[in-house]
């Protein structure tokens, strides 16, 4: 008797929770958007009147470079990799442009910065793809190399002392009518390209395939070394572009400018539902993840807590969100 009532009671419950899980697994972006909305409401409750069109613009503007760097993490994590060199590459590319623009003009400086970024990515890709070095180690080593070389360049170039070009400042920090960040001009096409590339091209499918089951993908004839080499070049170029926006947003260029964004970029990708173990995730979730992190740090700073408490809360929230996410999606 009791068994019957038990099963009768538990069945609908089980169904709904399974439904929620299915929703989370198939459309992770919906609960993430709900969390984002909750955080926006929370911002308004804590500081009434703070949420406005201008506030939204500022949030988006701050989230865009983070979202691009988190995009590097997303595409590399799909193949069970990671790119810890994004900070060094982004700083380096912004710094290169700032030092070269005076002598060679903006276009040449940008092209040089992007080519150097691509070369760094190529070396990383050779290490990961051909020599099978663990991506964590390879990108860590490359970030040391890039940082050291950038420092050497800094000493060579210290006399010329050019600044961040005006165009970058407009692009990184400017807003139309105080609402729409101009950096969307860079970000929207980039995001569209990444999402299209991941979902609609053969190359994107290969990334998922390699991460999901490397042996099966090899047996079906995927040359994973080629895929990985191209992947890390793409990631490095994306990091280079993010570097332009970061140097424009902060109106400075230094060789360590973007270093603090590396770990948040990993966190944004994880919160956005990308599995660090490979094979699962998409860039849409990552963008929301970057927005969530930006709003969280804005809430934390508007609360007036000291830096210490902010860091503690920031870390705790990352664990909590990742844990909730794992619990819902893995325990079926």
């Amino acid at each position: 008797m009791s068994a019957v009532t038990n099963s009768a009671n538990s069945r609908p419950k089980w169904r709904t929770s399974a439904g929620v899980r299915l929703l989370f697994r198939e459309r992770p972006i919906i609960p993430l958007l709900a969390l984002l909305a909750l955080l926006v409401v929370l911002s308004e409750v804590i500081r009434p009147g703070i949420v406005s069109a201008n506030w939204a613009g500022v949030m988006i503007r701050a989230a865009i470079p983070l979202a691009i760097l988190a995009g590097c993490q997303t595409i590399t994590m799909l193949t069970a990799g990671i790119d810890l060199s994004v900070g060094a590459v982004a700083s380096m590319s912004g710094f290169l442009v700032a030092t070269l623009v005076g002598d060679y003009g903006l276009v040449v400086a940008v092209v040089i910065a992007l080519v150097v970024s691509a070369l760094v990515g190529l070396v990383t890709g050779v290490g990961v793809g051909i020599f099978r070095v663990h991506p964590l180690i390879m990108t860590l080593g490359m970030s040391l190399v890039v940082l050291g070389l950038a420092n050497v360049w800094q000493i060579q170039k210290v006399q010329t002392g050019a600044g961040v070009p005006e165009e970058f400042r407009t692009l990184g920090a400017g807003m139309y009518f105080d609402v729409v960040p101009i950096s969307l001009l860079v970000f929207l096409p980039l995001a569209a390209l990444i999402i299209f590339g991941l979902n609609r091209t053969g190359y994107g499918r290969l990334l998922y395939a390699i991460g999901d089951n490397p042996i099966a993908s090899r047996l079906s004839g995927v040359k994973s070394w080629q895929v990985l080499m191209i992947l890390y070049v793409i990631a490095a170029v994306l990091a280079g572009i993010a570097g332009f926006l970061i140097s424009g947003l902060n109106n400075t260029a230094s060789v360590t400018l973007a270093d603090t964004a590396v770990l948040p970029s990993v966190a944004a990708a994880v919160i956005g539902g990308t599995s660090i173990l490979g094979g699962r995730g998409n860039f849409g979730g990552t963008i929301i993840g970057a927005l969530i992190l930006t709003v969280i740090s804005s809430i934390l700073s508007s609360l007036g807590y000291p830096e210490a408490v902010r860091q503690i809360l920031y870390g705790s929230i990352i664990v909590f969100v990742a844990a909730a996410y794992t619990r819902i999606t893995l325990e079926a």
Partner: protein
């Protein structure tokens, strides 16, 4: 190094075979010791005045990173990774410095014991979160990096505090003969006293087992969750020791994490510990730390830009790992 690996045919049950087996087993560490010897000779050649004071300085300067590398090695052997090592060092270091300031020498002993317990606690939190939430190690410890760094800032807002004299004296100078720097002695005693007994015990075997094959370990009756938490507790303990060595060498506590986390990962890999877990030991990483530090010293002697030393460290890291995986690839074939 490669010759010992490339001759598996020598594995026969004779005395020479036993030596060959041992050589094969410790090939990586022996290779590192060889590189270290070559580097020391090289240092002496380019800088004839490099002698005992140089070696003592080297021992003192590598102590925090060497302990951090040991901490990282334990986590990696158990198929984990702890990105919060640097933050835990900062936290334990400022706690020690804040509590020891203007206190008696005897009270400092209590502080040191308390800080070591704190290290175990921090590691237990890391490990439990990983086990309970089932979130990948790298993500949890990445988040805890922020938490512990924030806690360190709560304890001390700016660098400050103090250190007991006996703690400071523990790493300075040398013992018995000038050939034995105290810092090196402390390192070997501490690591030997904690790691060797564990390594030889059931627990040590479990750590390697969950590192090389968690499922097989589980089926042989090892509690994977408990062993993992213990692994992270050991990582926390060694991080606390590293933090104490920071306080001992500087005399104060600095609430900002140094570059220790990523360098410890680098040292662990150079030291022959596989990131896939279950392979390697703690002495390889320690030697790797000494090598990295000596290379930096040599480059200063040769008047090379210190930034090129950073480049060299990165290239060595990448290069050595590439060679290692090439050897592995050839063996797999």
């Amino acid at each position: 190094m490669s010759t010992t690996i490339d001759t598996p045919d020598t594995m026969v049950s004779s005395p020479t075979g036993a030596v060959a087996t041992a050589m094969r087993r410790y090939a990586w560490t022996l290779g590192l010791i060889g590189i270290l010897a070559i580097l020391l000779v090289f240092t002496k050649i380019i800088q004839p005045s490099y002698g005992l004071t140089g070696i003592q300085g080297l021992a003192i300067s590598v102590l925090p990173l060497a302990l951090a590398a040991v901490a990282q090695a334990v986590a990696v052997i158990a198929r984990g990774i702890d990105l919060s090592v640097g933050s835990m060092m900062a936290l334990t270091s400022v706690v020690a410095a804040a509590l020891m300031e203007d206190r008696s020498e005897g009270y400092a002993i209590l502080v040191v014991i308390g800080v070591l317990l704190l290290g175990l606690l921090l590691g237990a939190v890391n490990g439990s979160l990983i086990v309970v939430t089932r979130v990948p190690d790298i993500v949890v410890t990445l988040a805890m990096l922020f938490v512990w760094a924030g806690c360190a800032l709560l304890v001390l807002k700016t660098p400050g505090g103090g250190s007991a004299e006996w703690l400071r004296g523990l790493t300075k100078g040398s013992l018995i003969t000038p050939f034995i720097p105290k810092a090196a002695l402390v390192l070997f005693l501490v690591v030997g006293a904690i790691w060797l007994p564990i390594r030889r015990s059931r627990l040590g075997l479990s750590l390697y087992a969950i590192g090389s094959a968690p499922l097989a370990a589980y089926r042989s009756g090892i509690s994977v969750a408990r062993t993992k938490i213990i692994a992270y507790m050991l990582t926390g303990l060694f991080s606390a020791l590293a933090g104490l060595s920071l306080t001992a060498s500087t005399g104060i506590g600095i609430p900002v994490p140094g570059p220790y986390t990523l360098m410890s990962v680098a040292a662990v890999v150079l030291g022959g510990v596989s990131l896939a877990g279950g392979r390697g030991g703690v002495f390889g990483p320690v030697i790797a730390v000494v090598i990295l530090s000596l290379i930096r010293t040599d480059m200063t002697f040769m008047n090379v830009n210190t930034n090129m030393a950073t480049v060299a460290q990165g290239l060595i890291l990448v290069g050595v790992v590439m060679i290692g995986s090439l050897i592995q690839l050839r063996r797999d074939r």
